[in-house]
């Protein structure tokens, strides 16, 4: 999923690097305001969790496999700022220690997954919460919708970058159709897994779910549980 070196030209890579640096800087400040001196161990452990979650590969077909991206998941579980920070750290560690994703493409990868994917995912999650009944049982469904939209949104933004600084002469419409079409499929898987994981945490430790703050469980008896809750 990571963009390697040479996919986008040097000026675009530098520009996304600046966007990523600003984004990480803001996320650092906001996460610290929320977590105080717990930031380092908490964000570090959540980043390790996201990394571990990405290690599970699902067969997609035609011999390829995909894995959880975890942007919307992290945003719903620990909040958008800490979530963006965790995803950025995962990408940093993968680029610097594991040769996964080019170093010049690090800014692009952070911009796509930690900024665009996460902002869109969290915004859609919040919107979905407004539409759904104000109960804690709505949180997993809203998280799934956020995850569903965040993946093709990041793919569409990649297409935009590719149109500006791409290194291949492929019609933008074709890239957009292929990228968004393919990522809607990935987004569906991401949505199901995200919704189920959030549901599992909401069922056992609702106090830990940032996106469920201020929401109460339905009081009426005999409510049907969300699948996987």
């Amino acid at each position: 999923m990571h963009v390697p070196d040479g996919f986008l030209d040097a000026p675009t890579s530098v520009a996304t690097g600046v966007v990523a640096a600003v984004g990480v800087g803001v996320a650092l400040r906001r996460a610290r305001a929320e977590l105080d001196d717990r930031t380092a161990p908490m964000a570090g452990l959540v980043a390790a969790f996201v990394f571990a979650g990405q290690m599970i590969n699902f067969p997609v077909g035609a011999g390829t496999s995909g894995h959880l991206l975890g942007g919307a998941l992290a945003a719903v579980l620990v909040g958008p700022w800490t979530g963006a920070l965790c995803i950025s750290v995962v990408l940093l560690v993968q680029a610097l220690f594991m040769a996964d994703g080019g170093l010049t493409a690090l800014g692009t990868n952070i911009t796509l997954m930690a900024v665009v994917g996460l902002v869109v995912g969290y915004a859609v999650f919040k919107l979905a919460l407004m539409v759904l009944p104000r109960r804690i049982e709505s949180v997993p469904a809203a998280a799934a919708v956020g995850a569903l939209v965040s993946v093709p949104a990041a793919a569409a933004f990649f297409t935009l970058l590719f149109a500006i600084g791409g290194t291949a002469d492929v019609a933008t419409g074709k890239v957009l159709a292929a990228m968004v079409g393919w990522h809607v499929v990935i987004g569906l898987g991401e949505a199901v897994v995200t919704g189920l994981v959030v549901g599992a945490v909401v069922a056992s430790r609702p106090d830990l779910v940032h996106g469920a703050r201020g929401l109460r469980s339905a009081r009426r008896p005999l409510v049907t549980q969300e699948a996987g809750a």
Partner: protein
């Protein structure tokens, strides 16, 4: 995508490359990658020169190619993507004669673009692997600190690296437990079980973070880490 994320890339050694200061190696890698990306892809011989430079560094570090090459599978999905470009790109077509007597018509500019993507991506992965193979994680972190990376970011990275094996081993044990009960974690049919596992992993990791924080406070943590003991 397809490739697993290995994170034991370090190849123990005592060469000049291993001993070089980490912050210089990081800057060197970044500079090298930028130069490779900025090089026009039609300068074919220059890329051969870049490859020789990398192979020279690897030889100097005494890291065998047999160690590095299998770890390059991480870029296979992108080579596949690059291989598709000649078929979908615009521009004049050229016919390539294939073994077996038939011809393949592809876009000429797409062919050049695919070459550019493949060669630049491959050089980037090889260069990153060289850094990972010759530099201990603790040294990379210190190098980042030297380069004035935000202190808090370096701390978060160090905690992630410190607990990566703990958390992934935790997940490994949970997956083993699932498999021993007849669950296939990859099959969508068993996603609910897998999701509960991941949910439990999140709660475990989060609570571990809280315990680590309390342990740090009891040892006098004031927002800054002492010099990393190695």
């Amino acid at each position: 995508m397809g490739a697993g994320h290995g994170h034991r890339l370090h190849f123990h050694g005592h060469s000049v490359v291993h001993r070089a200061p980490a912050h210089l190696k990081i800057l060197g890698l970044l500079g090298f990658a930028l130069v490779v990306v900025a090089t026009p892809r039609e300068w074919y011989p220059v890329f051969g020169g870049y490859l020789l430079v990398l192979l020279g560094v690897l030889a100097l570090a005494r890291v065998p190619l047999g160690y590095v090459l299998p770890r390059m599978v991480i870029e296979v999905p992108f080579l596949l993507f690059a291989a598709l470009i000649p078929f979908v790109a615009e521009g004049p077509r050229v016919a390539l004669s294939m073994p077996g007597g038939w011809e393949l018509t592809v876009s000429e500019s797409g062919l050049v673009a695919a070459w550019g993507l493949a060669v630049k991506g491959t050089l980037g992965v090889l260069a990153s692997l060289t850094l990972a193979a010759t530099t201990e994680p603790a040294d990379v972190l210190q190098g980042l600190q030297r380069l004035r990376f935000p202190d808090l970011l370096v701390q978060i990275m160090s905690f992630m690296i410190r607990y990566l094996d703990v958390v992934t081993a935790d997940l490994g044990r949970m997956i083993t437990a699932m498999r021993s009960r007849g669950v296939d974690p990859r099959s969508p049919r068993h996603w609910p079980a897998l999701a509960r596992t991941l949910g439990a992993l999140f709660v475990r990791s989060y609570e571990r973070g809280e315990r680590v924080h309390l342990a740090m406070l009891s040892r006098g943590y004031d927002g800054r880490l002492p010099e990393q003991a190695r």
